[in-house]
């Protein structure tokens, strides 16, 4: 499969959008504009961008506590995301969810989740709906390396395999679950091998290679729909920032972080590749400027927008 030039530019644009979105959040946080903590995916943009852009709008995703990239990848409006983090009326969840719980049903995002492995079993249910309703779509379930040691991970994989459900499990292995190196937390050969042990075809890929992510997800999606079997991808990547805003980063070295930033950065690497393939600095600059502008205007608009009104929250708790 070859990736078209348009798609290449789109992949670059999406990674830039995710990075600049989160850098803007960092800045807002340091200015004291945000209540609560947040989990940034800076350094991991290739998995979110590559995976989401390989899906159709009607394919669904389930996301994690580190979900800004997934949400943007699936087409969310950055303005409404900023508004959510700022507790504004126009936020995706009207200020009730915040950073860790954004859902955007209009674009097929069933929601971020503050519970590690919380969305695995939900993705199985959504895939069952697709199967029962005979829809030609898949559910892509994002989760971290930390999630694979929860019981619900195993229950979800087992059932998805038994029932031939159209779900693509995508583990973003950023090599740490908070302070716990996945090496120390995951028994057995690898995370991908856990998929195999449930009879699910599983591969490990370079999660910082955006085209590799895009192509694997696109290929697996076709196969899921033609063979009625779930699939599993372990995408190896790295998070640059602390786990959340209160992390002192004592469990890893700055050399390690800098190695990934300098040598493996998904955006830098992709720019290098695109320039080699004839895309010009001018093409990229145009995209970057457009993304910067989107972020700038979205932040401003969100800050100027009204707070979510205090309604009857007890009534709001029920449908």
């Amino acid at each position: 499969m070859s990736v078209t030039k348009d798609t290449q530019l789109e992949l670059h644009r999406m990674m830039m959008l995710i990075r600049l979105f989160e850098e803007a959040l960092e800045e807002m946080f340091s200015r004291g504009l945000l209540h609560g903590t947040m989990h940034l995916s800076i350094g991991q943009e290739a998995t979110a961008a590559g995976a989401c852009l390989a899906l159709d709008k009607k394919d669904l995703i389930t996301s994690t506590h580190r979900g800004h990239g997934h949400c943007l990848g699936k087409g969310a409006d950055p303005y409404k995301m900023f508004a959510e983090l700022l507790g504004r009326e126009d936020g995706y969840c009207r200020g009730r969810g915040g950073s860790m719980h954004i859902a955007d049903l209009s674009n097929g995002n069933l929601g971020a989740n503050g519970i590690v492995a919380g969305s695995l079993t939900i993705s199985v249910g959504a895939a069952l709906s697709f199967q029962l309703q005979k829809k030609e779509n898949i559910v892509l379930c994002f989760f971290g390396d930390g999630a694979v040691n929860e019981g619900s991970f195993h229950e979800a994989l087992n059932l998805a395999s038994l029932w031939n459900l159209p779900v693509l499990f995508l583990c973003e292995n950023n090599q740490y679950g908070m302070s716990m190196a996945s090496e120390k937390a995951v028994a057995g050969e690898s995370i991908a091998s856990r998929g195999n042990s449930y009879g699910i075809e599983s591969i490990q890929i370079d999660g910082n290679d955006v085209e590799a992510v895009y192509e694997s997800v696109a290929t697996f999606k076709d196969e899921i729909l033609s063979n009625n079997r779930p699939k599993f991808i372990e995408a190896v990547t790295y998070r640059y920032r602390g786990h959340s805003k209160s992390d002192r980063n004592l469990y890893r070295t700055s050399e390690e972080i800098n190695f990934w930033k300098d040598e493996k950065d998904p955006i830098k690497r992709y720019i290098g590749k695109l320039l080699e393939q004839g895309i010009t600095e001018v093409d990229l600059k145009e995209i970057d400027e457009e993304v910067k502008n989107t972020i700038r205007t979205s932040v401003k608009k969100a800050l100027d927008s009204p707070l979510s009104p205090v309604t009857n929250l007890e009534e709001d708790s029920y449908a």
Binding site: G98, G114, M178, M180
Partner: protein
């Protein structure tokens, strides 16, 4: 007498336990080099090593389950639920195993475990990281439930929970961690006599106010405001939610004739509603001059936005208003 925060007081208690009980160990997520999500286990790994400060994978079911098995075989586990919300993933070992084994096996085994966890709202952590689930555990025979509110009782109650022969759920409200005060570093007690004892924090004649966990601190603020300086309130910190010290409450209500209960958790099937129900069923009923009142959190998940979060959690002003209405 050192001045310690609640986090440091708990850290001191854990240290003492590990020093004095070679069969004690701690297990949980990020409790080692990270020092715990709220810093409570800071430095313990350096002092006691990996053998006894056990960083686990993210797997609450086995964290609680291993505590049960270890406790049945002469170990003394203390396990941490990083946010007490995640205890939901550990309900089977706690509710169906730990709580029942002593009774179900006819007294043949004890399950002396302490499950600590950070509870409560106020930090913008939203619906899945802000709950006050303590009443769930009060509903289960066989479990004890403990909620400290300040550095001294956090220190003492943890030691008493540790020596209790039963499973104890120990809920630490996130907002108390940074509260500082002088702490007497008592020795490990020979029994858990402190569990089941409420504490009268201020004596008064006009109204009895019962509270627990961080809400005690909010009530203290409310009753020390100038506006209420004329009112003589008797403030009771429950400290242990199961078993409840009804005697202290009933004695107080018989004197003041008025009962206000303040809690962060929603009212339905809660600790506060149980306290009121017990008072109404007691001899103190006839001394009540006015219906008891419960100030509680709204029956709503916790929203993330600050201005919405404060509408769900009772504020000092809500408590002041309730007192004014009643006295």
């Amino acid at each position: 007498m050192p001045e310690l925060s609640v986090g440091q007081a708990i850290n001191n208690a854990l240290s003492l336990i590990l020093k004095e009980y070679p069969n004690a160990f701690i297990a949980g997520e990020d409790i080692g080099i990270y020092g715990g999500a709220f810093g409570v286990t800071d430095g313990l790994l350096e002092t006691f090593g990996e053998e006894r400060i056990k960083d686990t994978p993210i797997a609450e079911d086995v964290i609680a389950g291993l505590a049960v098995g270890a406790a049945m075989t002469d170990s003394k586990p203390i396990v941490e639920m990083q946010f007490s919300d995640f205890i939901v993933n550990a309900m089977d070992p706690i509710v169906n195993q730990a709580a029942k084994l002593h009774f179900m096996y006819g007294g043949a085994v004890n399950v002396p475990i302490v499950v600590r966890g950070a509870s409560g709202a106020g930090t913008g952590a939203a619906a899945q990281h802000s709950q006050s689930l303590e009443s769930w555990f009060c509903h289960v025979p066989g479990l004890k439930v403990v909620t400290p509110s300040n550095p001294q009782n956090a220190y003492d109650l943890l030691l008493h929970s540790f020596v209790d022969p039963n499973p104890v759920i120990f809920m630490e409200h996130k907002l108390i961690y940074k509260i500082k005060d002088d702490v007497v570093l008592n020795n490990i007690p020979s029994n858990s006599e402190l569990l089941g004892q409420a504490k009268i924090l201020s004596e008064g004649n006009d109204i009895t106010i019962v509270s627990y966990s961080n809400m005690v601190n909010v009530v203290k603020d409310a009753i020390s405001s100038d506006e209420l300086s004329e009112i003589s309130a008797e403030l009771i910190d429950l400290q242990t939610l199961s078993p409840l010290d009804m005697e202290t409450i009933i004695t107080s209500v018989s004197k003041t004739k008025k009962l206000l209960v303040c809690q962060e958790a929603p009212a339905n099937s809660s600790v506060g509603s149980t306290v009121i129900s017990n008072v109404v069923q007691s001899d103190a009923f006839s001394s009540l001059s006015i219906a008891p009142k419960l100030v509680s959190g709204l029956h709503s998940p916790m929203p993330s936005a600050k201005h919405l979060e404060t509408t769900v959690i009772p504020q000092k002003e809500d408590i002041m208003q309730a007192i004014k209405d009643m006295v």
